[in-house]
């Protein structure tokens, strides 16, 4: 047997050492004692077989790896316990099946301070239960496993429990299986109003309007909920909601961070993200374009803007600093951001030394870093200017990536001037090989998004799960390494990940899978008897405090104040004086907060100017991060400062007054919902151009495939497309002949009058789900327009590539954002598609199933003052409306009584002190409705403020 020594202080000692200075601990200790002391968990585990990843590795990692793990520089006695070959074969500290013969066990149970492992001065002693687990593990053969997250993602087989009427899909089978094994039944489904509120908040970031609430409550069809989900996914609100989360992840801000924190222009990148989500860009493409859009062949301007992702970190303009030091710092930031977001690994650790727990060496860190180090940017910026390269957008400059080859080296201790061995761009050995991909960011993106990559799909699915359940299946969303949490539902995570990946990284598909599940639909009522405060068992619906942005946006929405413009430069809403001035930068660097006027005061919070050094207090108080670094997890605190904000910040005082005006007038359907579900959104159905006709068509295959089928206006009836049979599509025959004559397959639409068109929504040809003929769908399509109805002069405006039909029953169609495609259709009367190829490549038969044209929204952003004559509406009715708007339910009798009392009390107060009323009504830029009695309005505003302050209001339940 080889003797070994664990002691961290004496790396060279190789045999046990007698140290007389230490007193032996006078505790008798024998293996037999373990059982007596073993805690409940250990007993549970003792009954089943030990699982290395779940039971053993966390112990070894936490207590041993610092000296006996992957980091070679701190490794003691040349022993590593993270590999079978090292621990069992070479060093023989573990004898499989023989705990009594295993030196490891002898050392962990030893009471001799010189023998005992971990050593006392490591201050991380093992518990008896942990010792027992190690012992049992060796007894059972000491099987090592590769870390679970590095295993390929195979679609797990479904659990046997599949006959329950509760389950709505595969996801639920996994959950139910776990619940059954614990003898727990799932919670009942949430009531319809709660469910609507939940899914609407989750997918759109806003509460449902009363119209939406009523529509859902009255929709008796079995697909009512699916219809809601599809509506939500098509809304630009969805794109904004997803983007708002991505902004934390990608550390987006409107200032440079570091010393002076001057302002910058990165919002065009933010708008790229919105568009990507709005068009449901496949996630692999989403990642690729952001990481390496500039390296794509014939990279478009948009794809270059996407790479602003890599440039979102701060930069310094401090005098006297080293250019190289900061350039290096930025490359580090890019590296660790990508590692956290796309791999869920804590690469930051290896910047200075080999990882203590995960199999990542400092060399591997700098090999990954090398991908990002080859960048043209410099280290020190100037006030008001980007660090080149940058692209001009609307007068500002958005920073982007540009490849510039640089040699990369291991930087010892993470110090930019301590140059070690040269490294090539490469990915860690523990993960699938990089292969012969190009060694640049594009190759890296390709490697990340390849089906073999075990991490991207898992990590992404887990973050979406966190968005919808408040906590990830792996709680440590930022760490899928050995020190991260083992997934609570491993099979479920893998199933979701493989399903997401195998469905073309379709985010809509993933979200639909989750929100349509019975698991998601459960009531969130707490079940204290399960002792599962964090809801890790998934035995109820999720409930958690809303994120900062959604709290404010909700107040704006329910009061009809929310401006729904999408994208554009960041705005400056109300902010207490002096927040920026507190930074007190020298005059040459001072940034002045000039509050906006008009609609900019009421934009969604994601558009509020994000200054890293002085975050808007209304955001910071509800746990929004400064975004100095990539953030994938926000805390949800509950503090008195939050109470003060909701009670006193002008945003909420004004919103409560506007809400009071709405409910006192009782004119909700007009004023309230128009503002809330405002039709200016790009993809809203109200922008679909109606009354289109076919002007002409090159040919039709038969009576069953007439061109007019594509315009039957039933595009939203999803069942039709790809599901049934004939009479649903247009099929063009004889194309080869027409091609030879230079005609192509053509179809020309007459819009009925002239429009500016912003998008197409296309259901491509499929014919039948059973008989998949989606290959006949149109592919390369030249778009031509004519401004006159006679069609004498067509102008080509660009070419689009239409995606193949999915062949699925609920195919939502594919929306093409013309702006994004660089196609401008202005003042068009006729639109012609000249279809050049189909998806099969034989070009014989080409077809389309359905098409919609979306016009550029024509909305007057000026708020119109309500001309509605105040109606006679009771205070109780007003209160009911305020509650329905705010918390999507009617108040209980007791609540109504309390709120009525509050109203009367406040009215009495204002009648005695009318001055108070006029002060209250003057908060905010919006005018109080002069047709309403100011005293009643003030009293109702106080009631509405109480409603906005309910715990329930700011809770996603």
């Amino acid at each position: 047997m080889i003797f070994f020594h664990f002691n961290a202080i004496h790396p060279n000692a190789i045999s046990p050492r007698v140290n007389c200075r230490r007193q032996p601990i006078a505790i008798l200790f024998a293996i037999t004692v373990f059982t007596a002391f073993a805690c409940h968990e250990a007993i549970t585990h003792a009954q089943e077989k030990i699982d290395f990843g779940r039971d053993v590795q966390p112990i070894l990692a936490d207590h041993c790896y610092v000296c006996h793990g992957p980091d070679v520089t701190t490794r003691e006695a040349e022993l590593r316990l993270d590999q079978h070959s090292a621990a069992v074969t070479q060093m023989q500290v573990i004898v499989p099946g023989e705990p009594d013969q295993s030196p490891l066990i002898a050392r962990i149970i030893s009471v001799d301070p010189d023998e005992q492992m971990p050593p006392a001065d490591f201050k991380k002693p093992l518990t008896d239960a942990q010792k027992q687990i190690l012992q049992q593990w060796i007894e059972e053969g000491a099987h090592f496993q590769r870390h679970w997250a590095f295993e390929p993602i195979d679609q797990p087989s479904l659990p046997a429990t599949n006959s329950s009427p509760w389950t709505r899909g595969e996801l639920d089978q996994f959950v139910l299986d776990q619940l059954n094994s614990r003898g727990i039944t799932p919670a009942a489904e949430a009531d319809r109003a709660t469910l609507l509120r939940r899914v609407t908040q989750d997918l759109s970031g806003l509460p449902p309007t009363i119209t939406e609430l009523d529509a859902f409550l009255n929709d008796q069809s079995p697909n009512a909920y699916q219809t809601v989900v599809n509506r939500l996914l098509q809304s630009s609100n969805y794109a904004e909601r997803m983007t708002s989360i991505w902004l934390d992840n990608a550390r987006y801000a409107d200032s440079n961070g570091y010393q002076f924190d001057n302002t910058r222009t990165m919002w065009p990148w933010r708008d790229w993200v919105i568009k990507a989500y709005a068009t449901n860009m496949p996630f692999d493409q989403f990642v690729t374009e952001q990481l390496a859009g500039d390296l794509l062949p014939d990279a478009t301007r948009e794809q270059k803007i996407a790479t602003g992702f890599n440039r979102n970190h701060g930069f310094t303009i401090e005098g006297g600093v080293s250019n190289e030091e900061y350039r290096t710092m930025y490359a580090n930031d890019k590296t660790t951001t990508a590692a956290t977001l796309f791999l869920g690994l804590t690469f930051e650790c290896c910047r200075c030394h080999d990882h203590k727990y995960d199999p990542i060496s400092i060399k591997e860190y700098y090999s990954l870093y090398a991908f990002f180090n080859s960048s043209a940017e410099g280290g020190i910026g100037q006030k008001g200017k980007p660090i080149a390269p940058a692209i001009e957008v609307n007068g500002g400059h958005v920073m982007v990536m540009q490849q510039k080859l640089r040699k990369s080296f291991v930087l010892t201790g993470g110090q930019f001037d301590q140059i070690g061995a040269e490294v090539q761009p490469d990915t860690p050995e523990a993960l699938p090989a990089f292969g012969d991909r190009p060694r640049n960011r594009l190759g890296l993106a390709n490697w990340l998004t390849s089906p073999e990559n075990p991490l991207l799909a898992r990590v992404t699915v887990n973050r979406v799960w966190q968005q919808l359940f408040g906590i990830g299946l792996v709680k440590t969303v930022d760490n899928f390494g050995i020190q991260g949490e083992s997934p609570r539902h491993r099979a479920l995570l893998d199933w979701l990940a493989s399903d997401f990946r195998d469905h073309g990284w379709d985010m809509h598909h993933l979200i639909r899978t989750i929100v349509l599940s019975a698991t998601y639909r459960q009531s969130s009522k707490h079940r204290p008897e399960l002792e599962d405060a964090e809801n890790r068992l998934l035995a109820r619906g999720p409930s958690f405090r809303l994120p900062a942005e959604m709290i404010r946006d909700q107040a704006l929405a329910v009061s009809g104040l929310l401006a729904s413009q999408v994208g554009g430069p960041s705005v400056k809403p109300y902010q207490p004086a002096g927040i920026w001035e507190d930074l007190n930068a020298p005059a040459s660097h001072a940034e002045i907060y000039k509050q906006d006027i008009g609609q900019s005061l009421y934009r969604k919070s994601m558009y509020s100017f994000w200054r890293r050094a002085a975050l808007h207090p209304g955001m910071a108080v509800f746990d929004a991060p400064s975004r100095d670094v990539c953030s994938v997890l926000r805390s949800t605190t509950n503090t008195p400062l939050q109470a003060l904000t909701l009670l006193h910040a002008p945003t909420y005082v004004e919103a409560s007054r506007k809400l009071a005006e709405l409910v006192l007038r009782g004119d909700l359907p007009e004023a309230g919902t128009n503002q809330v579900s405002n039709p200016i959104q790009l993809y809203d159905t109200s922008n679909i151009i109606q009354g289109i006709q076919i002007k002409d068509v090159s040919s039709e295959y038969s009576q069953s495939f007439l061109a007019s089928n594509v315009l039957d206006g039933k595009g939203l009836q999803r069942e039709k497309h790809g599901a049934i049979s004939d009479n649903i599509a247009w099929l063009n025959a004889g194309i080869q002949d027409s091609h030879s004559q230079g005609l192509g397959a053509q179809i020309t639409f007459d819009l009925g009058k002239n429009y500016n068109v912003s998008g197409f929504r296309v259901w491509n040809y499929n014919e039948s789900r059973l008989n998949d003929l989606s290959r006949r769908g149109a592919k390369k399509v030249e778009v031509l327009i004519s401004q006159t109805p006679d069609g004498k002069s067509f102008e080509s405006v660009g070419t689009l590539t239409f995606k193949k039909a999915s062949g699925k029953k609920d195919d939502p169609g594919k929306t093409y954002d013309l702006l994004k495609a660089g196609i401008s259709i202005e003042n068009a009367r006729l639109i012609r598609f000249n279809i050049k190829t189909n998806h099969e490549g034989d070009e014989e038969l080409i077809g389309l199933s359905e098409i919609q044209f979306i016009q550029v929204p024509q909305v007057d952003l000026q708020k119109t003052k309500s001309s509605t004559v105040p109606q006679s509406i009771s205070i109780s009715e007003s209160i009911v409306m305020a509650m329905r708007l705010t918390v999507s339910r009617i108040p209980t009798a007791r609540e109504l009584k309390l709120l009525n009392n509050l109203y009367r009390e406040r009215l009495t107060h204002y009648q005695a002190k009318p001055d108070g009323a006029s002060t209250l009504l003057s908060v905010g830029e919006s005018q109080a409705d002069p047709q309403l009695d100011p005293l009643k309005l003030s009293a109702m505003a106080d009631v509405c403020l109480a409603i906005l302050n309910l715990s329930e209001t700011i809770t996603r339940k």
């Binding site: 804590t346 405090r545 503090t639 008195p640 002060t919 908060v923 329930e952």
Partner: protein, 471 residues
């Protein structure tokens, strides 16, 4: 008052004294007061709270604390290259052709029973040196402001880590039911005005729960943002509104069982108390004239360093856990003579007044006071001789006083040019370890799991409590 409302209110208050309501009331008594870490303190603390006088910009140890006769004697001569060594200089002086030694601008004398050397630029502190432990061998790797100030406040040069105050708040919670546990005050000196900017992440909570971030007590407007009731709202009004709100929340709590609701009820109660407590802290009307004689007339003026020192004492009296003053203007690249003197004039009296005042109120025993900046300054001149000094991280001076610290002590030595450390180096990590020790915390065991690591304020490298300055 409407009898029905009153009845509801009574019903609510009755509910809160028993059953589910009692849970809410229980957490009224301090959800934030409850330490996040029940295992703390690790041992009996000597200090219950910290007042950190952070001097932003890099105060000159050479001119204030670290007396070196050689610098006087060799004023104007080139700094010997073997002293300067080959370590990094900032870009502001790395191109200089000459590095002339610049002697201290004031005169030094030995003061107090301990005979501590101190410059005559700090005449008030000179009288209090027997209360302080001067550490002359502080050092940091950072040589520029942003990383330097980030390092000393968060234990790491890389932005995003929790500040020391956030760690204290996280570990020990608040001892005050009405105020946040970590409060920050800002001021600007007349030396270099404006000084280097500071930013909220210096008192941020990093990966710790964000309720532990510092709360900026502002000198104009509401001391705490959104603190004031709207005009026309009386305290009784507000009380009644909050009762109704609590009753509504309570109803929902009963039906949903969500414990967050009861916590929120308690947070509204604390907000209500804070509305009274925060203005009370800044209400100086009951301070006797002797207070202003002690701290100086500036203490009447919100936003001055003297005022903030007085506020710090008033907060210490009210058991705020971690009070941090950021005073700017210590970045004397130029105008050394006039600017450094101005900085000292602005701060010296109030700093020593704070020590005196804490002592006479019996608070110095259990209040740890720390004075220091992010780095020191060079022994050689930046630019023309005597013009100014560049940043210097290789050695600088910090002092500590009060709970757990021995007064009248000097620790660590620099070489004869006050350029390199000669003995007993103290890193930022060691300073933080010592601070935590005074609070009864073993810095090695005070960890928070983030990114798979047990993160510490003192980082991964070794850190040692400075035993020799402990009381």
């Amino acid at each position: 008052m409407n009898p029905e409302i009153e009845s509801n209110r009574r019903t609510f208050l009755r509910q809160t004294s028993s059953g589910i309501g009692a849970i809410a009331l229980g957490s009224l008594l301090g959800d934030t007061a409850k330490a996040a870490r029940p295992d703390l303190p690790h041992f009996a603390p000597k200090a219950k709270r910290v007042i950190y006088l952070f001097m932003s910009g890099g105060p000159s140890h050479i001119d204030l604390y670290d007396y070196k006769p050689v610098l006087v004697k060799r004023h104007g001569e080139e700094l010997p290259p073997e002293i300067r060594g080959d370590q990094r200089l900032t870009g502001m002086t790395s191109g200089q052709k000459a590095f002339p030694v610049c002697g201290p601008i004031g005169k030094f004398a030995q003061c107090g029973k301990a005979g501590t050397w101190i410059s005559d630029l700090l005449p008030h502190l000179a009288k209090r040196v027997d209360d302080i432990a001067v550490i002359r061998s502080m050092h940091t790797e950072a040589i520029n402001h942003d990383p330097g100030i980030t390092f000393i406040n968060t234990g790491s040069q890389i932005p995003g880590q929790p500040s020391a105050g956030a760690w204290a708040s996280y570990g020990l919670g608040s001892a005050n039911q009405n105020m946040p546990s970590y409060i920050v005050l800002l001021s600007q000196g007349n030396g270099k005005n404006p000084g280097q900017p500071i930013f909220s992440r210096l008192w941020g909570s990093g990966y710790l729960p964000s309720n532990h971030q510092g709360v900026l007590l502002r000198s104009s407007g509401d001391p705490v943002l959104y603190l004031k009731d709207p005009p026309g709202i009386t305290r009784q009004n507000r009380r009644a509104q909050l009762d109704d709100l609590a009753a509504l929340n309570q109803l929902k709590f009963s039906s949903s069982g969500d414990p967050e609701i009861s916590t929120r009820i308690s947070q509204y109660e604390m907000a209500f108390r804070m509305q009274a407590a925060a203005p009370e802290i800044s209400d100086l009307s009951n301070e006797p004239e002797s207070t202003f004689q002690l701290y100086g007339e500036d203490a009447h003026l919100p936003g001055t360093y003297a005022y903030n020192c007085l506020m710090a004492r008033r907060m210490a009296e009210r058991d705020v856990r971690f009070i941090q003053l950021f005073h700017r203007g210590w970045d004397q690249h130029g105008s050394l003579q006039s600017h450094l003197r101005a900085q000292c004039r602005d701060t010296d009296q109030a700093t020593s007044a704070l020590l005196t005042d804490l002592k006479q109120r019996g608070l110095l025993n259990d209040t740890l006071v720390i004075w220091g900046g992010e780095f020191g300054r060079t022994a050689y001149s930046q630019g023309k001789l005597g013009n100014g000094r560049d940043h210097h991280g290789r050695c600088f001076t910090t002092w500590m006083a009060g709970g757990g610290i021995q007064g009248g002590v000097s620790y660590g030595e620099t070489d004869e040019f006050a350029y390199n450390i000669a003995s007993d180096p103290v890193h930022i990590r060691d300073l933080n370890a010592t601070m935590l020790h005074c609070l009864g915390i073993d810095h090695e065991r005070f960890t928070y799991r983030f990114q798979g690591l047990d993160q510490r304020l003192t980082g991964v490298e070794e850190a040692h409590v400075i035993d020799k300055i402990l009381a």
